[in-house]
């Protein structure tokens, strides 16, 4: 049970990553691999700030801003210098690797015995129900502080979902969605599409950095490698979410991304529990996304074939 609660919590934290990927990949159709760098960037900035005694919320804020800067840089490289989106992302991601090492001063920073968002929650829980308090959920004994952590993560993600949902229904947000849908059309309606892309990718990477910052605090350390494979991870979440919730309106797609992140994390936890070698996790994730990407096309072809057969018969 504590495994389940842990998976749900990490799933919720990584939902912020999924939301970021949803913005770059689905709204702007921009395969933004900066994510891998900005995830670690957020973690390292937050960890470095927390180590020098900063308030965890300030640390998160710093991570968000740092992520936005990284994203804006990718956006500017793409729009001003006409460099392919993938290459622009790779450039920034590679540069961030060095920057992350400089920020942390070494390849990882432990956050044990430091004040983080999660030690706050623990203190809060201890204050209400006493230290090491346990309770029974569905017949399983779990720690109360784990439940509080889950609840706070859920609240946090809900707030972010509402903000994003609101943003993409404002005038500027609608213009951003149109930029991804048909940039020629929205330019003819007077929108500077380059600026929209820069702001959008910045926002996306801000969220991704925040996910990194939160995860670092949850697991108690920041590591220079923790961003590896995060883009595909986020993509898998978005794709799972889309298949769970079959609706293209902004609100539902956002809910889908969050659900997808949780479900994907659960699937991974189950697979690991059943004895999947953790080293194989990335190849399985990559295969999964590959299949999810080509499946709709195959289904369509199959439909066409059966239709043709019927027509011939």
């Amino acid at each position: 049970m504590s495994l389940l609660i842990g998976s749900l919590t990490i799933g919720l934290i990584l939902a912020l990553l999924a939301l970021g990927i949803f913005i770059s990949f689905r709204i702007f159709d921009f395969p933004d691999i900066t994510a891998e760098g900005s995830f670690t960037f957020g973690a390292s900035i937050a960890a470095a700030l927390i180590v020098i005694g900063a308030n965890p919320l300030v640390a998160c804020m710093g991570a968000f801003i740092a992520g936005m800067l990284a994203g804006a840089l990718t956006g500017i490289i793409h729009t001003r210098f006409r460099i392919n989106p993938l290459l622009a992302g790779i450039l920034v991601m590679t540069a961030l690797y060095s920057i992350n090492l400089h920020v942390m001063g070494r390849s990882n920073i432990p956050l044990l015995n430091k004040t983080t968002l999660f030690t706050w929650i623990e203190t809060f829980s201890n204050g209400i129900s006493g230290e090491m308090a346990k309770t029974v959920v569905l017949g399983w004994e779990v720690q109360v502080k784990d439940l509080w952590t889950l609840l706070f993560c859920f609240l946090g993600v809900t707030i972010f979902c509402l903000i994003i949902w609101w943003f993409f229904r404002t005038n500027i947000g609608t213009a951003m969605r149109a930029t991804g849908d048909n940039d020629q059309m929205i330019r003819a309606l007077g929108v500077n599409t380059k600026r929209m892309i820069v702001i959008g990718i910045a926002l996306s990477n801000g969220l991704i950095a925040l996910a990194g910052a939160t995860l670092a605090q949850y697991q108690g350390f920041a590591d220079v490698q923790m961003g590896v494979g995060m883009m595909v991870w986020g993509l898998a979440s978005v794709i799972i979410g889309e298949s769970i919730i079959n609706d293209t309106s902004v609100g539902f797609v956002i809910i889908g991304a969050v659900l997808g992140s949780i479900v994907f994390r659960l699937l991974v936890a189950i697979a690991l529990r059943w004895g999947l070698n953790p080293n194989d996790l990335k190849i399985i994730t990559a295969l999964f996304v590959f299949i999810a990407l080509i499946l709709p096309g195959i289904m369509k072809n199959k439909k066409k074939l059966t239709f043709k057969k019927k027509a011939n018969a």
Partner: protein, 270 residues
């Protein structure tokens, strides 16, 4: 009033594929005038339109609209003054967004887009009234995505969107060329209504000489990046499709003769 002075544009300058698309084109279009632009393929008629719209920046010359010099402006900035309908019905609308969202985007053409609600409830009734005269039943489908509509419906909507806020200039780039004849004539009727209602200054590129004869008060015929003929007033009214065909033949003959003649001259004199 649109004033184009000595504009030049060369694509792929200095390479084998060099194309002199616009060579010293000058024209002044009065307020409220409806100009049809004719020409063979590659004559520069679409290039002229795109030069005004700002799809690319011109090499030389000036373009001014209502006294404002716009030739250095980017495409999106020019869109504050200019409404456009494209040849491809897919180009003018965002397919995955609903009809009302597309219309709402158009109601903000060239205005500042901030954090206000993108689709205020108050606009929905306006939109119903706006699309009802189209007689396409769209007033009941405002929430469905535009990608589900036919090319004609999308083109009609694009026309409404480009003129929802009165533009200083309306650019129509063969906007009926991709439609079947019946739908094309419907969209043309709509064009006529929309343009005459607000007395819009319009520049329409077309392949159809019949359209050019029937519509507008001026015809420009382009050839090899230059304006070959320009008819307005009574001359334009007298013009018939056959006259235009004769002019086209004349242009083509000139084009064929020139190289042969020069070859003959070479033979005799060199």
């Amino acid at each position: 009033m649109l004033k184009i002075q000595n504009i030049k544009k060369t694509f792929n300058a200095g390479t084998i594929n060099e194309v002199k698309a616009l060579q010293n084109v000058s024209i002044t279009i009065e307020e409220g005038s409806f100009v049809c632009v004719l020409g063979t393929n590659g004559s520069g008629k679409s290039t002229l339109l795109n030069a005004v719209a700002g799809t690319f920046l011109i090499d030389e010359g000036s373009i001014s609209l209502d006294g404002t010099e716009i030739s250095k402006w980017g495409e999106h900035k020019r869109a504050t003054l200019i409404g456009r309908v494209f040849q491809n019905p897919f180009s003018g609308t965002a397919p995955n967004m609903s009809i009302q969202e597309n219309l709402a985007l158009a109601m903000k053409r060239g205005k500042k887009r901030g954090l206000g609600w993108g689709l205020p409830k108050s606009l929905t009734q306006d939109f119903r009234n706006l699309v009802k005269p189209l007689n396409m039943g769209l007033e009941d489908r405002l929430e469905s995505p535009i990608g589900k509509l036919s090319g004609g419906q999308r083109q009609a909507l694009t026309l409404l969107m480009s003129t929802a806020l009165k533009p200083k200039l309306l650019l129509l780039d063969e906007h009926t060329a991709a439609l079947d004849p019946k739908t094309a004539s419907k969209v043309l009727d709509l064009t006529h209504q929309v343009v005459s209602k607000d007395n819009l200054t319009t520049l329409m590129v077309t392949h159809s000489m019949q359209q050019a004869v029937n519509m507008g008060d001026r015809i420009i015929m382009m050839h090899q990046g230059q304006i070959a003929y320009d008819f307005k007033g009574e001359d334009k009214k007298r013009l018939r499709v056959n006259d235009l065909l004769t002019l086209f033949d004349e242009l083509r003959r000139k084009e064929n003769i020139d190289p042969t003649v020069s070859a003959l001259l070479m033979e005799h004199y060199v």
